[in-house]
């Protein structure tokens, strides 16, 4: 018994540890360049956003189209509080986190208390994003509007260095991944899975579907708020574009869809890949949204499991069951039978089979 628990622990947390250890090496080659460090640190922040979004969307199927707005509540909330009051910025970050969690829970409560919740979640959160952006532009006295806001607090701490912020975000990402994994293996995780697989059956077996959705939204929004707040103190300048829908939500959705919705490491893989892609395409920055849109369409039309799980699944089959890091992450991610909320057929068909099926169908 203790032996199997230990191997389970290894299986669950070893991939996380390996990925974090690999990411910890990144400053070895990028540490000399301040701009490169900004790129990779921002990449980690997006990884953290994607893990939080994964908890809300991947685990409970709530399409929260307000990732940027919730992060922005954290960022602007902490920035404004720390500038205008004497509260230390670490405390304002936590307060802003709680504020974001409250908004996330409220949005989820509005949407999931009725049937048609998939649609309502998308609509309410998208509308919320718009009103957040209008608020940032409209209340110039608080947020600086189009001129942006200088965030002084935190610049004389670890968040002000060249390399140290990277490790702050890395620690945050590691904590989020572990938390995600803990939630997944707890009774919450079982409830999430049950309501994702068959909502009616879950409800009939006594799971309060709406309540679990609201919990997931609150925890995920708290992560978003904390990351957004940390990002604000790290960048020491935030503006209306820092948390804009087009800059945050679009990227986070593509990262998650690419890495594999509902998997533990998918968000990190997606964030890594798209941070590199963004750097490669830095001369075509204005084309970025087009590319992201096309990638979204291709991903959801052909690989509903996410490109990485489909790829590692195919590789794993070629190698005759040889396990790669990615496929291990996938299997752990959803208890052996990965099925993202938008997956096609019923039952737990292996990732590779579904992916080839869908590709054939879409042609």
């Amino acid at each position: 018994m203790p032996d199997s628990t230990r191997s389970q622990l290894l299986r669950g947390y070893a991939p996380i540890a390996i990925v974090i250890a690999l990411l910890a090496l990144v400053p070895l080659w990028s540490g000399d360049s301040r701009s490169m460090m900004t790129v990779v640190t921002t990449g980690l922040a997006f990884g953290a956003y994607a893990v939080a979004f994964n908890l809300i969307f991947g685990s409970t199927g709530q399409l929260f189209l307000c990732v940027g707005a919730l992060a922005g509540i954290g960022g602007f909330g902490s920035a404004i509080l720390s500038e205008r009051t004497a509260i230390p910025f670490v405390v304002t970050m936590l307060l802003a986190m709680v504020l974001a969690a409250g908004f996330g829970a409220l949005l989820s409560w509005v949407a999931v208390s009725r049937s048609l919740d998939t649609i309502f979640t998308g609509i309410v959160t998208l509308a919320f994003s718009l009103s957040f952006e209008n608020f940032v532009l409209g209340r110039q006295d608080l947020t600086g509007g189009e001129n942006g806001l200088r965030v002084e607090a935190g610049s004389d701490t670890v968040l002000g260095g060249q390399i140290s912020p990277y490790y702050v975000f890395l620690a945050m990402l590691a904590a989020y991944l572990v938390l995600f994994r803990i939630i997944q293996t707890s009774h919450f995780g079982w409830a999430f899975r049950a309501l994702r697989d068959d909502e009616v059956a879950a409800e009939l077996s006594g799971i309060d579907v709406a309540r679990y959705r609201i919990y997931a939204a609150a925890v995920g929004s708290a992560m978003l708020g904390l990351t957004g707040a940390t990002f604000a103190h790290y960048r020491s300048f935030i503006g209306d574009s820092t948390y804009a829908f087009g800059n945050v939500d679009v990227r986070v959705l593509v990262m998650l869809a690419f890495g594999g919705i509902g998997t533990v490491l998918g968000p990190v893989i997606g964030a890594t890949v798209f941070t590199v892609v963004d750097e490669l395409l830095v001369d075509y920055a204005s084309l970025r949204e087009v590319i992201y849109g096309v990638v979204t369409l291709v991903l959801f039309l052909s690989f509903r499991q996410g490109a990485v799980p489909a790829f590692t699944g195919a590789v794993g089959r070629l190698l005759g069951g040889g396990r790669t890091l990615g496929s291990a992450a996938v299997e752990d991610g959803s208890g052996g039978a990965p099925e993202p909320p938008d997956g096609g057929g019923p039952g737990g068909s292996p990732a590779d089979e579904v992916a080839t099926e869908e590709t054939a169908e879409s042609r």
Binding site: S131, N134, L301, D342
Partner: protein
Amino acid sequence: MGAVLVDGFVLGLQFGILGVGLTLVYGLGGVVNLAHGQMAVMAAIVTARLIDRGVSTAIAIVIGIAAAGLLGIIIDRTIMQPVYRDQTDHRVLLGLLLMLGVGFVIDGVLEWRYPIEALNLRVGGDPVSLFGLKIRRGSIWASAIIGLIGVALVLFFRFTTFGRATRSVIQDEEGARLCGINPAMVRTVIFGLSGALAGSVAMIQAMTSPVVSTAGVGLTIFALIVAVVGGLGSVSGAFLAGILLGIVNTLSAFYIGTFVSSIILVAAAAITILLRPQGLLSRA
């Protein structure tokens, strides 16, 4: 106050038409078109480009609207097909995500190619006095055109065979199929009609204020809120909700500030979902 009310009414009519297009597509195929506003803006930018190149305004407007309609038909016939085939619970989510992707692409192309392009069809001349109110000529034209569109829609859905077929598919797709109606064909035509309606709204809006190439997401969200408040799938509900929300939006923007009006709109959607999820008009 009076002039603001008139502005709100005109805006509300535009919201109404946007919401009707969205709600029709949802009613027929279960697809929430998250690219509705982007389709409208695309039509506006097509028209603006054509006018820049010396095409006469009337022809440019017709081509712009037709382009949006054609885009709707293409989307329906291509990337929406897997959604229509999917009979599981995930269908709605897949539709949402794909339309979101379409929205990103349209927005991205507009931002990339025409970041500062805008369509301006401002109707000149002095304001007209009507019942003691000074009303802009553009507003009068806009309301007249929307009135015509509204009447045409009502006549279409009540008295033409195709309109009746559409309503029957919304009510019961299987039943309609048994009566010899082809739901796929109805869906395609209505998706095109919805795009053309969105394009028309962009043209009408350009008569009072310029339509910029970044306006898409905002228009989409207005349309979504209107469709939710009106009750998804209800055409008359969407029209009524559009007028109501247009007036509320303009009044609050005028007296308090734009950011408050968008918060009020979100609150309106939230309250509707909580209290009357079936919409304003329909009975529970």
